[in-house]
Each structure stands twice: as C-alpha cells, then as structure tokens.
C-alpha cells in the first residue's frame, strides 16, 4: 500500500447514517486511501451491504458525508459514479445477453470510447478465461462464470474505487486465485478496493487494513497485528487467528 497524502482519499465517509425503522448504519466514519485494499467484516445484518449501497448511489443516506476521490457523492452523484464500480454478491447480468454484448452495454453506460473499451473488453475476457464464451448467452453460465462476467463489467471502465460484495462466492480454486491476483493488481495501479467477505482467510491474506463493523458502527480497524493487540488487551493470546479476533471483537463490541 502506498499512502499518498497529497491525493484525496478514495473513499471518505463521515458520520454516515441510514435507518430502516431501526438504525442500519449508525454514524459510520471510514477513510480508504487510493491503492489500499480494505476488507469490511461484520456479522450478518451488521450494515456492510447498506453502506456499500449508499456509496454506490443506490440508497440515499439519512445524513452524513460520502466523498469519492474528493467528490461529494451526494451533491454530484454522476461524477462520483463515474469513478466507482460496485459488484454485488448476486451478479447482476442479463440472461439474454452474451458477455461481449454485456460489456458493450456497460461501456456505453460509463460513456467509454469504443476503441479503448473494445480492447479492454477483449483483454478482460481473455484473462478471465471467458473469451471462448464471449458470444454465448449468460443464461447457461455457472455461478462462477456469471461472477466473472460481472467482474469484467466492474473493471471495464477502470474505476478508481472498486467495491465488491462477497466476490469469491461460487468460484473454484483456480478462478478464485485469478480474481485475487487481479484485485491485487488493481491496488498496485492505485485503485482502492473495498470488499466484504465472510471468508476471513481472504481478508487476512489480501487486505492492507481490516475494518470490523457491528450494529452499523465501525468497532475496530487496523491490520491484523493491530486487531490482535486490540483483542488481546483483555486476554493473553497474541497469535490468535483473524477468526478468533473477529469473534472476540464483535462479541465485545469494542470501539476502536
């Protein structure tokens, strides 16, 4: 990770709030730098997906500030969306479109130049092992293939902030490794990657920083060592796995 102090944060959330009857996101503060790989962990219903949906512009926050690469996403949603990609856990594809047609549509949505987008589409599909299937409709694809098509759609417009909700679900070991490599490569190019996952091993291996969210609040944040220290304040264990740390911190609801 390269912390660039002069550039604005890739994502900055200040006192973000959203309530559906009861608070789902409750005063969340979060800052993610360009090129940083950030894993957002939390139990089911902790507010991870609600947060990502607000950043993606799919949900209107009740209050708070969302800033993407220095752009106020609530004031200038279109400018912010142009820099963002969101990959939900259930890949949103058109069954009746082929991967190449899907990418053509996505590139159109993000207003890309045809020549550049065409080359990128071919590169992405080849790397994801989908080039042979580029003209087949997605309806017959396995879950893993759909996930890869959706990932190509998220990457084609070269976002500066990439948000992924459980991106490895349904992928086999080979594809999972490929996707992890591609995400790491994105961060090297200065793209901020935020991912939610319940596979703690993924967070442990890939993430520069890990945030733990409970009841709509960020209760702990840091690299694995820092989280271990936080967790170990009350216990003697210093070599705990992320799973132990996660369970301990969420159970105690520690404020970072």
């Amino acid at each position: 990770m390269t912390e660039n102090v002069s550039a604005p944060a890739a994502l900055r959330l200040r006192d973000l709030r959203k309530s559906f009857g009861k608070p789902a996101v409750d005063g969340l503060d979060l800052t993610i730098q360009p090129g940083e790989f950030y894993a957002l962990l939390g139990a089911n219903g902790a507010g991870k997906t609600t947060t990502l949906r607000m950043v993606a512009g799919l949900l209107q926050p009740d209050s708070g500030e969302v800033s993407i690469c220095g752009i106020d996403a609530r004031r200038n949603p279109l400018e912010a969306k142009a820099l963002t990609a969101w990959l939900p856990d259930e890949p949103l594809l058109y069954d009746k479109l082929a991967p190449l047609e899907y990418l053509e549509f996505v590139a159109g949505l993000w207003g890309m130049d045809s020549g550049e987008a065409g080359a990128r589409a071919e590169d992405l599909l080849r790397r994801l092992g989908l080039w042979e299937q580029r003209n087949q409709r997605c309806e017959g694809f396995s879950r893993g293939m759909r996930q890869k098509v959706a990932l190509a759609g998220a990457l084609i417009h070269a976002p500066r902030l990439l948000m992924l909700d459980e991106p490895l679900t349904g992928l086999d070991a080979g594809a999972s490794r490929l996707v992890k490599d591609m995400l790491a490569e994105q961060t090297r190019q200065g793209v901020a990657v935020v991912l939610t996952t319940h596979i703690l091993e993924v967070a442990e291996k890939l993430a520069d920083r890990i945030g733990i969210i409970a009841d709509g609040k960020l209760i702990a944040e840091g690299d694995l060592g820092q989280l271990r220290r936080l967790s170990a304040q009350n216990s003697a264990e210093r070599s705990a796995s992320l799973e132990d740390v996660f369970l301990d911190l969420t159970a105690r609801g520690v404020a970072a």
Binding site: A56, L58, L78, D95, A98, F105, G108, G111
Partner: protein, 507 residues
C-alpha cells in the same frame, strides 16, 4: 429389481393438483372453496349467456341441419384445442419444476409422458369446455338430449389434438433444437389461436365472385367432395350431432391416436426434456461484430437485443400486427375517392399504437434484470428512460408505418394528425409502464404475465383519450383539447412521487 413406482392415476393427480394451484393463483383465490365459488359463478353466468345462443343454434339447426352447424363449430374449436395443446406440450417439456425429479425416478418415460399429456388434455377440455359446454347444456335442455353428444365428441377431439400437439412439439424439437422450438411453438400457438380472425379476414378480402361460389358450394355440396357431410372430413361433426356410429368411431379414433402418440413419443419426450434442461450451453448467441459503445446506441441496442430474444414478445408483436393488418387492408381497399375511410381509421391506429407501445414497454421493463447495476452508472435517470422509449418507438413505428402511409396518402392532414396522436399515445403508455415498477422478476412474469390491473386500466384510459383526441382533431374541433388534457392529467397522477426510490430509475 425395480421398485414399484407411482401409478399413472397418482401421477395425473399430482399434475392436476399443480395445475389447480396455478389456476387458483390466476383467480387470486386463497382457498379451494373460494376458487370453486368463483368458477361456479362464472359457469352460471356463462349458462345465462348461453341461453339465447342455444335458441339461435336450434333455429339454425332447423334450417341447415345439425351436421353443418357442428362442422362450423369444429372449424373454430379444433385450432383452439391445438393452440391449447401446443402451449401445454411446451410447458410440459420446458417446465423444469419437477420433471428432473420424475425423470431421475424409476419410471418408464411413457408413463411420465402419459401423465403429462393426460393432464394437458384435461386442462384443455376444461378451458374450452368452460365456454362450449354451457351452450350444449342449454341446447340439450331446450332442444333435446342429443346435444349432449358434444361432450364425448369434444373429449375425443381434445385427446387427438393433445397427441398431435405433443408430436408436433417433439418433431420441431428434433428439427430446430430446444431454443427455437420454444419460440416456434409459441408463435404457432398464437397463429393457430388467431385462426378464426385470420379466416374471417381472408373471407372478407377474397373477390366477390369467389365468395359467391364458396357459399354456393357450401349450400349444395357435390357428393364425394371435401364439403360433402357424408365424407370422412365431417366425421367429428357427425359425431357431435349424435350420429351413433360416427360418435363411436370418433371416440375410438381419439383414444387410439392419443395412446399411439404416448407410446411412440415416450423416449423422445424423455430425451427432449433432458436436453431442454441443459439448454443454453448449446449454441453461440451471435457472431463477432465491432465493439460499439457510444452511449445512446449502446443503451438502445441492449433493449433491442433483449426484445428480439424474447419468444413471448415475438408472438405478442405478431398478434398485434395481425390485428393491424386488416386495418391496413381496409385503407388499401378504400384508397381513392376521398379520405372518409382514412378518417374513420385514424382513431383505431392511434389506439393500436398506444396499446402496442404499452405491451412493448411492459415487457422491456420486465426484462430489466440488472436495474440496480444500471443505477450505479454515471447516467442521469432521465436519459435511461429516454433511450428505453426510443428503443420501443422503432418497432411501433415499423409496424404502423404501412397503415399510416395509407392514411397519409388518402388524406394528408388526417395522416399528420394520426401520426402526432399515435406518437403521443405510444409515448404516454410507454412512460406509464416504465414509471410503474415491476415487483416480480422476469421469470415469474412469463409464468403469470401478471401486469398491475390498475396500470392496465390507466393504459386503456390513455389510449381512449388519444384516440378521441385524434377523432376530434380530424373533425377540426377545439374540443380535442379536453381529452388531451385528461390524458396528461392521468399521466401526471401516475408520476412517481419520490423519484428513483422504488422505480427503476436510479437514486
């Protein structure tokens, strides 16, 4: 040793129970009792309507004889039965719900096919009989029990049509493959179902002399010709007219054809269903073209691709254009002396444009599988709506171009008024459908095709308003402003309140 599996009766009962639940869902009846009450009331109403119809039939019978009458009846009913059978056979082949389970069970494929075909036959008998049998019942009460022969004659016809439909579907399957078969049967079912409308139109547009000759031949058929009531073609008609031997032969023929079809088609059916289950991997969707993603074009092209790849939609458009064809023909026939006919056709064209665009918009809206994803794109919600409407405008314009050109040729001013009102009508019903979000996902829509009833009503209101406006404008009356104002008010009342929250448009 193969364990004893379910009996045919149990399998049919299982299929019928599922069909019944689908019917209950369609009737929006929560319980069986409620569904029975609704059906009972409908049946009573149909019997009431059948009363004058039966009186008319008896009068005609006294003049032309029962056989000719039943012959005419079969000309109408048989295509209807075929259409029902084709729809049922396609559903039996493609509804993956429990077919995988049945085919993996130790059951001979003939038995599965027999149960599916029998339940399709029973459903068709119910669907057609619901409307036909009340007439037979009333005729029996008023004219004598011989009219009850319609029951076995119809049942036998249903068995025959079902057997033929399964054979046709599986034959198409072999010829065209799984994907195209579904589209083809849907189109054929639509065409066959619209058979009567087509026939009536054909009869209207053949020259006067030929019409006369045909009437003459029908009244006094030459013995041995295909119009001779004693010929083999007329067997079902004689059966329905309660001629003992003919009825026995017809029933025997129906049962025989059905059993033969089941026996012969069993293995092909099992193969077909398994292939249908694994479809989609089968073939390439398209060939490599140039990658073009200029925004407006990319957005429209995506809508067209989705529209073009929807077999259900294709048959819908086909049906709509089938109904616009006669309108175009009427204009074509009346071109010449003055524009009076064009003037009478203008409101109809406006209404058709509005309805067609509503149907297309509804289906385009329901094919939006990734609305949430589109909402994350840096595109103003208004532009996405605008591109969708543009995408729909093209097929509507293509279908209406010919009749509109006819009107414009006959009377340019009326043509212009029709064009403007049709465009306004089409745009308004399309916008309405896009504003009203669809709750259920696409797959469910195809099954139920359940459009919001209120939206349907407003849609009709809008098309009537624009048609009326076209009529008044053609008359050169300023009162045309009233229906236009009403249409705009209707549209405004249905505008989404909190933009983008529930509608497909982004937040």
């Amino acid at each position: 040793m193969i364990p004893r599996s379910l009996s045919l009766a149990r399998l049919v009962r299982h299929d019928l129970a599922i069909s019944w639940r689908r019917l209950c869902g369609f009737l929006r009846a929560k319980t069986t009792t409620r569904a029975l009450i609704v059906l009972g009331l409908a049946s009573a109403l149909l019997h009431l309507v059948a009363w004058p119809l039966a009186l008319g039939l008896l009068a005609l019978e006294a003049r032309d004889g029962a056989v000719a009458l039943d012959g005419l009846g079969f000309v109408i009913v048989l295509p209807w039965l075929m259409s029902q059978g084709l729809t049922g056979a396609t559903r039996a082949l493609y509804s993956r719900g429990d077919l995988d389970l049945l085919l993996s069970a130790p059951l001979p494929p003939q038995k599965i096919l027999a149960s599916r075909a029998l339940s399709v036959a029973i459903e068709s008998f119910g669907a057609v009989g619901m409307f036909l049998l009340p007439v037979a019942n009333m005729a029996a009460i008023l004219g004598g029990p011989r009219w009850l022969a319609v029951y076995p004659a119809l049942a036998s016809a249903v068995l025959m049509a079902t057997g033929a439909s399964f054979a046709a579907t599986l034959g198409l399957f072999r010829l065209l493959g799984p994907k195209r078969t579904r589209a083809a049967t849907q189109v054929i079912a639509t065409l066959v179902g619209a058979w009567f409308v087509i026939c009536a139109q054909i009869f209207n547009f053949i020259p006067e002399d030929s019409q006369k000759a045909l009437r003459q031949a029908l009244a006094h058929p030459a013995p041995g010709s295909w119009l001779d009531p004693q010929g083999a073609l007329w067997l079902p008609a004689r059966a329905a007219a309660a001629e003992g031997r003919a009825l026995a032969l017809w029933v025997l023929l129906g049962c025989g054809a059905f059993m033969l079809a089941v026996r012969a088609l069993g293995p092909a059916f099992a193969r077909g269903a398994l292939i249908a289950a694994g479809e989609g991997r089968a073939r390439a969707a398209s060939r490599d073209g140039s990658f073009r993603c200029e925004r407006a074009g990319a957005l429209r092209r995506k809508e067209w691709r989705l529209l073009a790849r929807d077999p259900y939609l294709l048959s819908q458009i086909l049906l709509q254009s089938l109904y616009t064809l006669p309108v175009a023909l009427i204009i074509w026939k009346s071109l010449g002396p003055n524009g009076s006919v064009a003037f009478s056709v203008a409101p109809a064209l406006v209404a058709i444009a509005a309805q067609l665009s509503a149907a297309l918009a509804f289906l385009a809206g329901s094919s939006e599988d990734a609305g949430d994803f589109v909402a994350t794109a840096p595109v103003p919600p208004g532009e996405i709506l605008r591109r969708k409407i543009e995408a729909i405008a093209l097929p509507v314009a293509l279908l209406l171009a010919l009749p509109l050109a006819g009107v414009a040729f006959a009377a340019p001013r009326i043509g212009l008024v029709t064009l403007l009102c049709a465009a306004a009508g089409a745009a308004s019903t399309a916008i309405l459908n896009f504003w009203k979000p669809l709750e259920n996902r696409r797959g469910d829509l195809i099954k139920t095709h359940a459009q919001n009833k209120l939206v349907g009503l407003v849609e009709h209101g809008l098309s009537i308003c624009w048609a009326l406006a076209a009529l008044l404008l053609c008359l050169g009356s300023w009162t045309a402003l009233a229906p236009i104002a009403l249409a705009l008010a209707l549209l405004w009342a249905n505008k989404p309140r909190a933009p983008g929250v529930k509608a497909f448009a982004p937040a």
